[in-house]
């Protein structure tokens, strides 16, 4: 398929630029977070360099995703859905157990996590179904859409990977809200969801319950999961207005901050760049999301608009949950911050999803002009 010159011109450059800037900030931050100031311990290179490699691969993946017309995804939506379901089932029976959770398929050369694929699958199937709905969702239609989502989320929650499982539900839920529900559904949900929380409590693992308890009062477990929260707040708070400067964050450099290269990476940023720097980062994220809203608005079809909304929620929830956790506003759940936390496959997926949205944006004029 030849690439139309107009496609290149129509690329939403601000979104692409913001993604790259965020990624580069994240990489610089990783350099600090993984660098152990003194000779002992780990060396600087691995996380920071590996992240750069993943980023390059991500950009490549992004370009690949931009090459084909996103509307083809509509046709593969259902096959992708079934494939994902089969892979999830395969994990259930033949998966590799790491850290007590069965989440990976051993492909020989790498470990593959089908739940990552499920995130993309839920976006596409959600966009396809919702784009065809003419009216706000009533109870029946809502049950249908949610049912499709739960088919994917269920096995993931069983792995157990509550975080990813719930994130599927949240992405789909966001898309449903974007589409709109009938006032009756809305009111019911407003009452039903909070009242189901005690029930959900029963399904949580002990460690998950403990995390929530600790979130409510971190001092009850200062050496356990409360430690994360306390240390994270110390790191952030001690950054003050201007921050301690690049590579000067004592809490992260001296390794008081746990998981400072993954889930708590942003705390390192807050410590070193202070209130000013963090506000800049936050603004960049908001602009990044805002560009997606623009794309969703201008998309040439509803499928593209819903797809973009799905990607929006994919990023939105991660930013909300991760930053909320690091800032001590939410319980500790293992969710990375896009572009800032270290993570190979998540970087790859992030860039590919940005590519997907760019794909939607660059093809918005094709129909009108031809």
């Amino acid at each position: 398929m030849p690439i139309d010159r107009r496609l290149i011109l129509s690329i939403n450059w601000p979104l692409l630029g913001l993604a790259v800037v965020l990624f580069l900030l994240g990489t610089v931050n990783l350099y600090s977070a993984s660098g152990y100031r003194l000779e002992e311990g780990m060396s600087l290179a691995p996380y920071f360099l590996r992240q750069l490699v993943w980023g390059a691969m991500g950009l490549g993946g992004m370009i690949l995703v931009m090459l084909f017309d996103y509307r083809h995804l509509k046709t593969i939506a259902w096959p992708l859905f079934w494939l994902t379901l089969i892979l999830l089932a395969a994990v259930f029976f033949a998966g590799k157990t790491i850290y007590g959770a069965r989440r990976w398929l051993d492909l020989g050369f790498m470990n593959f996590q089908p739940s990552e694929l499920a995130k993309i699958a839920v976006l596409i199937i959600g966009a396809r179904i919702l784009a065809r709905e003419r009216e706000p969702l009533g109870f029946v239609r809502l049950a249908y859409v949610l049912g499709v989502g739960l088919l994917l989320a269920g096995p993931i929650i069983r792995q157990p990977d509550l975080g990813t499982g719930l994130s599927l539900v949240l992405i789909l839920g966001g898309m449903i809200l974007y589409h709109g529900v009938t006032p009756g559904v809305f009111k019911t949900a407003l009452i039903a969801i909070p009242s189901m929380l005690p029930l959900a409590w029963l399904f949580l693992h002990d460690y998950q319950k403990r995390r929530i308890m600790t979130f409510l009062d971190p001092t009850t477990d200062p050496l356990g999961s409360g430690y994360h929260i306390i240390q994270s707040q110390i790191a952030i708070g001690s950054g003050g207005f201007w921050g301690k400067g690049f590579l000067q964050g004592t809490q992260s450099q001296l390794r008081f901050l746990p998981e400072r290269h993954t889930d708590f990476a942003v705390a390192v940023f807050c410590e070193e760049w202070g209130f000013v720097g963090t506000m800049v980062l936050l603004t960049l994220f908001c602009l990044f999301l805002h560009q997606m809203v623009n794309i969703a608005k201008d998309a040439r079809d509803l499928f593209g608009s819903y797809l973009t909304a799905g990607v929006f929620f994919y990023f939105f929830w991660q930013i909300l949950i991760n930053t909320g956790m690091v800032l001590g506003l939410m319980p500790v759940v293992g969710i990375p911050l896009p572009f800032i936390s270290y993570g190979g496959s998540s970087t790859l997926v992030n860039f590919c999803l940005v590519g997907l949205v760019l794909n939607v944006s660059m093809r918005r004029f094709l129909f009108k002009q031809s």
Binding site: L38, E40, D69, R71, K74, T75, A131, L177, Y178, H179, G180, L223, Q231, Q233, I234, A235, I236, G237, S238, G239, G240, F241, T250, Q251, L254, R255, F256, P258, C270, G274, F275, T278, M279, L282, T283, C286, L289, H290, M292, V293, A296, K297, A299, R300, D301, L302, F303, S305, A309, F312, F316, I319, L320, T323, G324, L327, G328, L329, F367, K368
Partner: protein
């Protein structure tokens, strides 16, 4: 591309777009407010927290000042000791760690836990709480090898006091031990686990010897590993101290005391410096440094020989015949006794219906003051004491340094007791009796002295009557505290009597004769009279713990301008000249000729047997 064109009329849901923008706005506001709260509103609080996380300070222990004897031999030194501490902040599993420590050190988990709970409020969470003050080398190696698996455990090296000669100088040096609550309150510079002097010179010169702790600051990572240590303040070692004690002489004195209850004082008659201050039985101060076990403490406390008692300054005894020189001095001072006056001794004298006996049954016949001193005639002093009365005897005794502490630089010194009419009335509610004068005149009755007071008095007989402060430091300058109220002629008379007690064939101290040395002496045998009522009225500490005779030997020795007063006192049961005399003789030989005469083994065996016997027997014979 069959399905290229969708229905173009489809518009994205307006409410949905508003929702997305609203969410962005909400998240921005929420996080901005939270960041403002954490980084600006509470920024300083967290900055302080971060500093505590990262920077720790630790004291660098200062070594205590060394202690040497007068010849420079080391008596007290410092050796490195290894203590095991627990840094709470770094320790994730306190109980598990304590259990492991208990296993390593053959300790008890419950004890460690108790210690931990008791002290955890006193020690900051990032400072080591000392669990085991004293690790053996094997334990250090074992723990060090496994330390990475037990974060929070810290081996601390600090100087520990070591007393080279153990028991030999226990009472003079005293000991150090960990500071207690009260001491920490009094001296704010002390921290939990610091050593302070508790007894002896260590206590008296605590401030000079302790030194000043240094301070080091270091960064730690989350496992408590130290990075980048920096000394903020170097420690200053305590001052070195040289005692006036002569180690060899002290050793000899202790050898002769041989665990018998008693004491020896050797005083330089011209400076007041003490060359030996031996008390027996003694204790090993090293035992206190690492903390006594309850069993060790019980043994020291319950030992009938009271090894913690410094018999030279803390025990008071009736002086017996040694006091006759004081009585004679009083007679001379008040002009009431003519030295030439002759008294007839038939072996006893009578007061009312009461018979007072001389130690020699047949009597001494006619004796003047000098002969009475040389032969220690009791009857002479009964007669003269009655004439002098208590008022003059006690006044002179006070003036001669008895009845109050000498002011030696050791804690808990006793002053002894010199009775007066007023004192007796206050103490017993009854007046002074005629018989009391007689008892007092031969150093019995209510008169109680310390061996150190006796030594100081006899030193005065050599140095022209100066009462010198007994000194323990080599660099201390002589301090004259008083003057025995006698002129030189009178002093000479007393001194001549002392020397003739050795030289004269009828003298009681013949065995002190030493070629080339002018030796004077006075034996004493002090009967501890069973005065049940009187004893009840005394303070516990003033009651001699066995009511038996004490053997005294007070001596002077001079040769080529070097002059010493030497006193040996052995509690109960041993004869004055034979028990205490040989000790003094051996000391004189050592001082002037460097000769070491150890106590004969046979004599050691005998004294051991006597000691065993004395535990059961009460009362006892009396001889002069």
């Amino acid at each position: 591309m069959s399905n290229l064109y969708d229905n173009a009329s489809q518009q994205p849901p307006r409410s949905g777009l508003l929702l997305l923008q609203g969410l962005i706005f909400l998240v921005f506001c929420l996080f901005a407010v939270r960041l403002w709260y954490l980084q600006i509103h509470r920024g300083e609080f967290y900055a302080r927290k971060a500093k505590e996380n990262q920077l720790r300070q630790e004291s660098i222990f200062a070594p205590r000042g060394l202690i040497r004897d007068r010849n420079g031999d080391l008596l007290a030194v410092n050796e490195p000791a290894y203590a095991l501490g627990l840094v709470r902040e770094d320790c994730q599993d306190v109980d598990g760690t304590l259990r492991q420590v208990a296993q390593w050190t053959d300790g008890n988990f419950d004890d460690l836990k108790g210690l931990f709970v008791k002290n955890q409020k006193r020690v900051k969470s990032f400072e080591p709480l000392i669990l085991v003050p004293d690790l053996s080398f094997d334990q250090v190696a074992l723990i060090d090898a496994n330390r990475l698996r037990w974060p929070g455990l810290a081996i601390q090296v600090r100087p520990r006091r070591q007393y080279r000669h153990g028991k030999l100088l226990g009472h003079v040096l005293g000991y150090v031990a960990e500071a207690n609550e009260e001491e920490m309150e009094r001296r704010p510079e002390l921290a939990l686990g610091d050593y302070v002097g508790k007894q002896g010179i260590e206590l008296v010169l605590e401030d000079r010897m302790r030194g000043v702790k240094g301070l080091s600051q270091f960064e730690v990572d989350v496992t408590g590993r130290r990075l980048q240590e920096r000394v903020l303040k170097h420690p200053r070692a305590g001052h070195e101290i040289s005692l006036s004690i002569d180690l060899g002489l002290q050793e000899l004195a202790m050898d002769w005391l041989d665990e018998e209850a008693g004491g020896v004082v050797v005083m330089d008659a011209d400076t007041g410096q003490l060359w030996a201050l031996a008390t027996s039985p003694s204790y090993d101060p090293n035992a206190f440094t690492s903390g006594l076990t309850p069993a060790q403490w019980a043994e020291l406390r319950d030992n009938p020989q009271h090894p913690m008692q410094n018999r030279v300054i803390q025990s008071v005894y009736p002086p017996g015949s040694v006091f006759k020189h004081v009585v004679a001095g009083a007679g001379l001072h008040y002009g009431m006794l003519d030295p030439k006056e002759v008294v007839h001794c038939p072996g006893f004298t009578q007061l009312g219906s009461h018979v007072f006996r001389c130690w020699r049954k047949g009597g001494h016949g006619n004796v003047n003051m000098e002969r009475a001193l040389i032969e220690s005639c009791d009857v002479y002093f009964y007669r003269q004491g009655k004439k002098l009365t208590v008022d003059r005897m006690s006044e002179f005794a006070f003036a001669s340094g008895f009845g109050h502490p000498t002011g030696i630089d050791l804690p808990h010194e006793k002053g002894g007791n010199i009775p007066t009419r007023e004192w007796k009335r206050r103490r017993f509610g009854e007046g002074w009796q005629g018989g009391d004068n007689l008892n007092m005149s031969i150093g019995q009755g209510y008169t109680l002295v310390t061996p150190l007071q006796v030594a100081r008095f006899f030193a005065a007989a050599l140095n022209g009557g100066k009462l010198l402060k007994p000194l323990l430091l080599k660099d201390d300058k002589p301090v004259v505290q008083g003057q025995v109220p006698l002129n030189q002629e009178q002093l000479d008379l007393l001194y001549r009597a002392l020397v003739r007690t050795v030289d004269d064939d009828r003298g009681t101290c013949r065995r002190l004769r030493t070629a080339g040395v002018v030796v004077g002496g006075k034996t004493g045998t002090a009967q501890v009279v069973r005065l049940t009522d009187a004893l009840k009225a005394l303070k516990d500490d003033d009651i001699p713990y066995r009511f038996r005779d004490h053997a005294w030997m007070a001596a002077t020795a001079e040769k080529e301008g070097r002059r010493f007063a030497i006193v040996a006192m052995i509690e109960h049961g041993l004869h004055g000249s034979s028990g205490a005399g040989p000790v003094v003789k051996a000391l004189i030989d050592y001082i002037f000729y460097g000769k070491i005469t150890p106590k004969p083994e046979a004599q050691k065996a005998r004294s051991r047997a006597a000691r065993l016997l004395s535990h059961n027997a009460t009362g006892g014979g009396r001889a002069n």
